[in-house]
Every structure is written in C-alpha cells, then in structure tokens.
Symmetry: C2
Amino acid sequence: MTQDNKAQDGSAAPHLEVMPLGGMGEIGKNITAYRYADEIMVVDGGLAFPDSHQMGIDLIIPRIDYLQQHAGLIKGMILTHGHEDHIGGLPYILPRLPKIPVYGAPLTLGLVREKLAEFGIKDADVDLREIDLDQGARVRIGRHFNIEFIRMTHSIPDNAGYILTTPVGRVLHTGDFKLDEEPSDGKLSDLARIEQAGKEGVLLLISDSTNAERPGRTVSEAEVERNLEDVIRNCKGRVFMTTFASNVHRIQNTLNIAHRVGRRVVMEGRSMLKYAQVATQLGYMTAPDPFLTSEDVGQLQDQQILFVCTGSQGQPMSVLSRLAFGNHAKIALRRGDTVILSSNPIPGNEEAVNLVINRLYEIGVDVVYPPTYRVHASGHGSQEELATVLNLARPKFFLPWHGEPRHQINHARLAQTLPRPPKRTLIAKNGDVVKLTADEFKVTGTVPAGAVYVDGLGVGDIGDDVLLDRVNMSQEGILIMTAVLHPTPHVEVVSRGFVRANRDLDNQIRKVALESIETGMREKKRLEDVRDDMYGAVRRFVRKVTGRNPVLIPMIVD
Amino acid sequence: MTQDNKAQDGSAAPHLEVMPLGGMGEIGKNITAYRYADEIMVVDGGLAFPDSHQMGIDLIIPRIDYLQQHAGLIKGMILTHGHEDHIGGLPYILPRLPKIPVYGAPLTLGLVREKLAEFGIKDADVDLREIDLDQGARVRIGRHFNIEFIRMTHSIPDNAGYILTTPVGRVLHTGDFKLDEEPSDGKLSDLARIEQAGKEGVLLLISDSTNAERPGRTVSEAEVERNLEDVIRNCKGRVFMTTFASNVHRIQNTLNIAHRVGRRVVMEGRSMLKYAQVATQLGYMTAPDPFLTSEDVGQLQDQQILFVCTGSQGQPMSVLSRLAFGNHAKIALRRGDTVILSSNPIPGNEEAVNLVINRLYEIGVDVVYPPTYRVHASGHGSQEELATVLNLARPKFFLPWHGEPRHQINHARLAQTLPRPPKRTLIAKNGDVVKLTADEFKVTGTVPAGAVYVDGLGVGDIGDDVLLDRVNMSQEGILIMTAVLHPTPHVEVVSRGFVRANRDLDNQIRKVALESIETGMREKKRLEDVRDDMYGAVRRFVRKVTGRNPVLIPMIVD
C-alpha cells in the first residue's frame, strides 16, 4: 500500500474520514472532503467575503492543499446548490484539480458554467454532469461513495442535501435548508426520504446550524410574498425592490406580484441580470411580462413601474447605493418613490446598509425593511425545523455544520434536548479529520485548511502579515524618512494618513532623524545600525509629541 | 446694535434660535445652543465614537466654532445627564469657552469632575453648579432663559429633560428618556409636569428619537433585573457579567441580585471602577456587601463569585475580551463559568461582539445574551412612550432629535398619527439655525457644525483627507519608489500592505521606474516631470500585473 492508499491518519482499518476544508466553524466558503481508503470525493467549493479586518480583500477561497496533494485520489465532486458560498470558489478550485466528474442540478450547473466562463474556463476543461432532483438522483463516485440527492427547500431552486452511503454506514448531509411548507416552486423538502433513512439507520448527520439560535420556525417564502404584495399594492409611486440576486424564489415572486398589481419590471444591476438570465434560460424563472429597460419606462406612469435592483447589502457600487447617493447615470429617486429592502444586512454590513437607509429617508422616499415590515425571511431553518430533521434522521453521531461556534454549539444543545439525542456530537473546525466507523466518531488529526485571499488579480499573494500592515496603516498612517548621506546628510519626510500637512512637525522629525544619523556617522556605525537608530529616535519622538504610532519606514541612500 | 447683538440670521425681531451643533441627524456628541437676542445658552457637550470609515480615530467631538465666535454672548450651560454622548466632550469644549455657569444634577457633575480631572482641568477653572432634581430645580441663565429641569427615567440616575421658558414661548426638551414604570431608584419620569406644561402651552417639543422605529414599550429595568436574577440563580459556577459601565441602574441591580443569591462581587475594568466609585461616593450606588478583588476570591467557591466587568462592546482591551482571548493577567475562564452580556452591540460593534461570543463558546463557558435571554433593555423609549410624551405635551412645533434620519422621520410620522399632531415638524441637521416665534418655525440658515477628530494627543489635526489616505492604504497598501539619480540612476522599492515580499515583482517595478527616469533624464525633463512620469509608469504597470491600485509615493533624490 503506498502512502496515497492509506487513510489520512495512517491507519489501514476501513473507515470514513470527513474533512471539512471550509464552512465548519464559520458561515462561508463551504467545501468538504470525504475519504475512504484510496478514494476522495468533494462536496461544494464556495467562497467567503472578508470581514472588516481583512482590509481590501476582494474575496476568500478555501485552502485546498490537501486535495492538491492527493489529487490522484479524487474521484468526483457534488454540488448542493448555486449560492456563492457553495460554488463561488470553483473557478479557483477546479483548475487546480484533475478533471473529475462534478454532479449538480441544472440551475446549479448553469450558474457554475456562467461563473467559469467569466474566468475563461471552457466547458471542455471541466466535466459537469447534470442530475435531476425530481428523479431521486443517485450517482456513484469511485468504488465506495454512493450518493442520493435529496431535495431541500432554501432560497434558491434546485437545492439539495444528500445521503452518502459508504462501507461504514450512511451519512446524511442536509445541505443548506429551511423546511418551507409553501415553497415558491411548490417543491417541498423530501422529509419522507429523511424519515426513511432514519429508519434504515443514519450513522452521521451533518446539518445546517445557521439559525440554531432562533426559536420557532423560519417564515415561509409564501408569507414574505403576501407581505411584499401588501406593501407594493399600497405604493402610489415607483417601487424599487432589492434582495440578494441569488434569491431566485424571491425574485420570481416579485415578478408574479408585479404582474398581479399591474407593474412592469426593470431589472438593474449586473448580478441581478446574470442570475435572472441563467434562471430564465433554464426554466427556473418565468417573467409573466417581458422585462423593460430603464429607458422604456418613460412611457409608463409611476405606479406601473417596479425596479428590481442590486444593493441589499449596501455595496457601494450597487444600483441602490448609486440611487441613494444620487450617482446613478439614468435614474434619480424622488419623493413618492418606495424602496423595499427585502433582505437583512449580513453581519458586518450593518453600517453600510444603515447609511443607505438614512440617505433614502433624506431624499424623502418611503423605505420599507424588516423588522418593521416582514418582507424578508432567512433561507435557513430555525430550531423547530432543525429539531424536525434531527428527530426524523435519528443519527447516531452528529456534526453541526454551516455555522460559527455559537451556532454549532446551540445546535448541539438543541439535539441534546430531543427524545433521541445523538450518541455523540462533535464541534469540528476546518481542517479537522473526523474518523467515522460504525462505532467510532472522533477527530484523529488535521489537514491544512484556512483562507486564501483573493485581491485584484492575485490569489494567495496576500498573507496575514500584509493584512496586518494594512490594519496598522489604517489606524495610524505611515511615515517615510529618507536619509541621503552624501554630500551632506539630509532627511526627507513624507507621510500619508498620519496628520494633516504640518511643516513644523515635519521639520522637527527631520531634525531628530538627522541628529541620530550624524551621531551614527560620527561613530562610524554600520548603515543598518544608523538606520535602526533613526527609526528608534523618530518613533520615540513621534509617540511623545503626537501620542501616535505610525508605521515608520526608514530608508538610507548612501 | 453690533454684529454680536444680532441674532444669527441677522433679523432683529424677537425670536429664539435653536441650533443643534451635535446629536441632530446622528446618535452621539449631543450639544445644542439656544440664542435669544444677545444671549446664548448651551445644552450638553458630548462625544461620539468613530464609525468604521473613520479609521484609527479615538473619538469625535463636535465643532464649536459658533460658540467660540460668539463666546462673549454665552451665559451658561446645562447638562441633562452623565453619559459620554452628553458630557464626554466637555474636557475639550469647556477650556475653549469663557468660564460660564454649568448646571447639572450631582451625579452628572460628579462624572464631569472626574473627567475634567483626568485632563488636568481644575475645579477652579470651571463653574459647576449643582441642581437638585427632587426639588423641581429651576435656574435662570442670562435675562431670557428660564430653565426648569424635569426628571426623566433613563439608564443612569439623575437624568433630566427641561422646560425652557423664553420670551417667545416654552420649549420642552425630553433629554434622553424611557418611561420606565419600575425604575431602579423608584424615581419616575415627571409626566405630571409634562402634562401641565402641555396645558400651559408647549411651543416646541424636542424629543428623543432613538427608538422611534420600535413598536410598543421598552422593557423596564425591573424586568431586566428579574431576568438577570433568574439566570444567575441557575448558574453553578462563576458568573461574569458585563454591561455599559455607565449603566449605573443595571449595575446597582446586579449588586442587589448578587447579595440575594449569595455571591460576592468583583468589579473589573477601569471605566467600570470609575463609574462605580463616583456613583458610590455620591450615594447613587450602594454595595450591600463590600467589593472583593480578584485576589480575594481565591477563598470563595465558584458559586459565590460574580464578576462585573467591562467589554460589552467587544472592545479589544476590555476585561471580557482579554478573558475571551486568554490574555487576562489574573483570571482565566473555564468550563462551568457563565458569561452574561447584559447589553446589545451598538451598531458597528456587531463583528467585535460576535468574535468574543464565539471565543467564549469555544472555551466552553455558557454565554447568555439577548435576544435569547432578555437580559438587556434600551435606555430609550419606544413608540408608545414617545406617543405618550407627544400626547401630554401637545406641542405646536416638533423637532425629532437624538436620532439618524431614519429615527427622526419615523418619529415625525408617529407624531402625525396622534389625535393632536404638531402643526409643523422639522427634520433638522447639525448646524441648522431653527428660528422659533409663536407662529414661525423654520430653518433660516446654518452655522458651522461637524466632527473634530481626536486621535492620540491631537485634536483636529486629522481631517477627512488624512482619513481618506488611511482608507486607501487599508484597501491596497502603499508602494514607495525612491529614485537616486547620481552617480548612476537607480531605484529602491519598498511596500507595506501591498503583496507578500516578491523579489521578481520588485525588480520589474524597479525596471519600469528606471526606464521612465532614464528617458526623462535623456530628454532633460524637469525633476517634477521625471517624478510624475515614474509615478504614471509604475501605476499602469502595477495595475496591469496585479489588478491593484496601491497608494504610490514617488521620491527623487537628486
């Protein structure tokens, strides 16, 4: 048996290894690897968005060193649905792996194709294979992995969990889900299949923890639709509605409402158009009336117009932000308009969304948003729904997934309150190797996992050291001292983000730097030492007179 | 009549001018000036905390140019209560104004004294005058301003609104308030006085808009106390409770709970100790049992200990953050401990608080926080309470205050739904001059208003340009090119926060810079032009190969 034929922990006994490489202990960049003997399969390949300390980063993809190091063992990949945190990393991930079969439902693959095309990755470079959720899709990956997709409701059509049957037993992974009893496309979660699996025996349940802290049930999309319709019916002027572009159900419902209340729809914003286009082409979205453009609506009265636009998270370049700040090239908001935010701010976006809302009020438009108006529902189930799945699946072992520690631990606690709690629950982290047999369920090691930062054209060329510099400069600014030693020593001082241009202070700093240099030269110190002395002298001086600690860059030109 | 004897809008007709210099259209740095003829009075002098775009700023104080320009007219100041957003700016403001009488209740002035002492401002430098809220405190400022303080409930004792009687009529300003029916100190809001004023005639109501978007009533402190006691009674191990240090009522209640459940209290954190000390000295806080120190508790069992500590907002240097990240010198959290966050994150602090909560879960302590546990209540009234005040005061004119536009406008709308809506409501901004007579209520002009940034020892030496540099550097980093022309031209490249050290890229950049310099020198361009050419060439090159736009600093040493 070669190294590669052994399981990750080196043991040869037949067991399954579950390796979350992203999405465990966090919300975002979901990717999970399963390994049995010499075979690996992968689930999803998502991205995450930076938090406020990851300054200037465009997006974050998971580290896949483990997959790259064991590329020869990877037999295939499955995709649960078409959201960015599940497929957004694929343009970075797939080119780094061998060409493996990638299974997904039509809308999911449609969105993947669109995304790959943007990166210049051709269809022939990948092996996308469509599955049909209505036909109880089953696929086999390698010799050991048998997968049965299960339809689950979420905020996008074609969303799936799956049952993975392996030689050690059955793993049920919910995928992202809520148990919507009135889903927009009428296609319910397949609870019967989960119940059946529970009867046959679920060794391990991996379940969505996003809303494990919320009591009760998550509001149905149908109720959101009714509330949206109430609001829109009462609007006298133009309506501007925003939500996540990927919330295909919400947008479909909005199109239906527009038709019923006699408003024509204009779609605005790149991502909104992209999702609508893919969903429409594949038959997942049907516009009862043809879309108009913002030029067309000149013919219509205000109460005949509904804009569906990007910007629900306060993104500065989105349509709604440009409207709020008066920077949109073609459309200007005015008193009498209504803006509906059919969304909540994702944690971290509160300030940006608040800014947009205040700006809208200042313009004098009506602004409608939760919780005052119930025009949004999460795509993830709350405690009752989580309990339902736990009760039906009756797993022996439990891995709360798709959540930060607070969500995972509350999900674990919820499971313990149920009539048949799991025998064992693990709170895992990205990179943990979770060993699973009929009797064993434990973390036996770790593999590399973490964040790769994407910034501009660079992937992985920004590390935490670079981010730390950014944080430091953002707090205190930067001060550059250039000392020229010959013919007569003198020092130039340039700063950014430090204090307002201040010639006196600059002169004082120059003097302090020059003195330390002259001393150093007199004492014939080495250049590095002269530079260090200048650095120290200026740091002490600046701290004393300004109380600040800018990033200091000392340079010496000999 | 000299310029200074004229009202701000230049008109000589007798009228009052209301000039919000801070706290109008925002939550924070409250300060309002009133002017009648040649007399000015000031209400409060608060500070605000920076938002995420105001990078590295310690705090923000209001611009008081108007007051400084009319210093000779200022006859006095009143303070409504001792919170930072009402008194935190005084160490910066009072030294810039003439020595005027400053009226406030004992706790308010106690906190002001403490604060001034920290800045080395002596009692003799200011003229603080105590008023007694229990005695229906009335003061007269100048010839035209008669002030009657009104007790209102809030999250700190000695909180007041006031009725300002002027020659044009009566202004009722609520100050910060909720209508707590079970306040911790048993002292209710003086609604009878508000009702009486309403009968006598309120020309203008200025009222707290913080919670104008929240239906119903704000939960009482007494209910929070009961919920806190329930939680603490059920704790088996040590309890760590955090809230705003300034929430004297909450802390008093916690001390009472500790006594009832048999726990001894340790106070931890500088601001927590400061508020407790001032409040205790002045009789506003009574510890049923003497405080212990963290050294003393070694004698006690876990269930006999309750720490009250700072950190409810996830501040990195606070006690709770240090506990969560294992950086506290004396105390280490462990499984079995319970941490209670008796607070909500202030907008902008969500990420920091979330990080602390997750860390606490990872340590394995129990974490208790809203909304799952109702262990916090806002200090500001919700719609029913706002309506009560509007109904009792029956103002002719209305100025929704202490809120962002979303809060002001919802407060204005609420007023319109009431049986006797105001004749006119204005949504004002900082710097607006609101002219008030018996019949007139309008914005007639503006005075300077805005933010002064305090950073380190500097007050006002950081402007928006400096902040913009900080934002830019935080997004893209900085790249410094130093070109030395003689004897042979060469270029040094240094960067921070740009990309990970990359010799190839540095060399390429150096080459691009050098080429442009050599061309410039050959063509005998001026030095500035050579520098600009280098800047442009490097900018284009960097953008092309990295997709990024670092802040570029070109320097030439001739």
